[in-house]
């Protein structure tokens, strides 16, 4: 059972990653919501933050223009 859950979560993470890399905003929002439902906001936002930091400045418009600002906003709000 846990194995199935782990696989399902990982698949959603991979899908989210793919949507970000393909700059597909609609799918990105969809998978982020699904991931959030599966593992909670902390995990899903943490995953997006890691993804953003690892790929910042590499020419991906969603990461550079959108996600970087969102992650900065989260940081500021926390601060």
């Amino acid at each position: 059972m846990n194995k199935d859950k782990r696989v399902l979560i990982a698949e959603t993470m991979k899908n989210l990653q793919e949507a970000v890399f393909n700059s597909n905003l609609a799918l990105m929002f969809q998978y982020e919501q699904e991931l959030c439902d599966l593992v909670g906001e902390g995990f899903s936002m943490g995953f997006l933050k890691d993804l953003t930091q690892a790929n910042k400045g590499k020419g991906n418009i969603v990461i550079d223009v959108y996600l970087s600002k969102v992650i900065e906003g989260v940081k500021k709000n926390k601060g």
Binding site: K5, R6, V7, I9, A10, E11, V39, G42, F43, G46
Partner: protein, 191 residues
């Protein structure tokens, strides 16, 4: 040993006529036969049946002489027809089984070499006979045989493919789990 040898004619007559059936004193249920001074219950009868089966098996002993005849015909005497090819195939299969079963038996070295050589030669003869037979067939029949062979190969390939797909799925699942574990640890997520 057979039933005939184990009992006298009279005993067998009594046994099979059922005239000496022994019944359980309390419930009247049949518990066996009493024949010629021996009590035979189901276990003993079962044992004799097994012995009979064993004798039948022994009678199907592989005919090595026939194998040699067929080898000779296949290699030096114009080849074999379909029935003979099937016969040789069956004889070789049984001969191999017999060799495996008799591995523990004491045989002289020359005897062992002779039989092994016959088996090897038999396989070669069978191969050659099948080839000759195939070549003697009209084109339409040849295509039919080839199609059957192709179907067999296709079947075994699809089995291999299914196994490969299964292994691939397992590998993917393992990788996905590892991917999850890596982040689960970082974000302290437990299922």
């Amino acid at each position: 040993m057979s039933l005939n040898k184990a009992f006298s004619e009279e005993e067998i007559t009594r046994l099979f006529s059922g005239e000496m059936v022994v019944k359980n004193g309390s419930n009247g249920e049949k518990i066996g036969f009493f024949a010629g001074g021996s009590f035979l219950d189901d276990t003993k009868i079962e044992k004799f049946n097994e012995q009979l089966k064993g004798e039948k098996k022994m009678s199907k002993k592989v005919n090595w002489e026939r194998i040699n005849e067929l080898i000779e015909k296949a290699l030096n005497d114009g080849g074999l027809d379909k029935a003979e090819i099937d016969e040789l195939k069956d004889l070789l299969r049984r001969a191999e089984e017999e060799r495996k079963q008799k591995k523990t038996e004491k045989e002289s070295l020359s005897e062992r070499i002779d039989l092994s050589m016959t088996l090897v030669l038999g396989k070669k003869a069978l191969e050659q006979a099948e080839k000759r037979f195939f070549e003697s067939l009209p084109l339409k029949e040849r295509l039919k045989v080839l199609k059957e062979k192709a179907n067999k190969v296709e079947k075994s390939l699809s089995k291999v493919n299914a196994k490969m797909k299964h292994l691939e799925k397992e590998r993917e699942e393992r990788e996905l789990q590892e991917f999850y574990e890596q982040y689960a640890k970082k974000f302290n997520h437990k299922l």
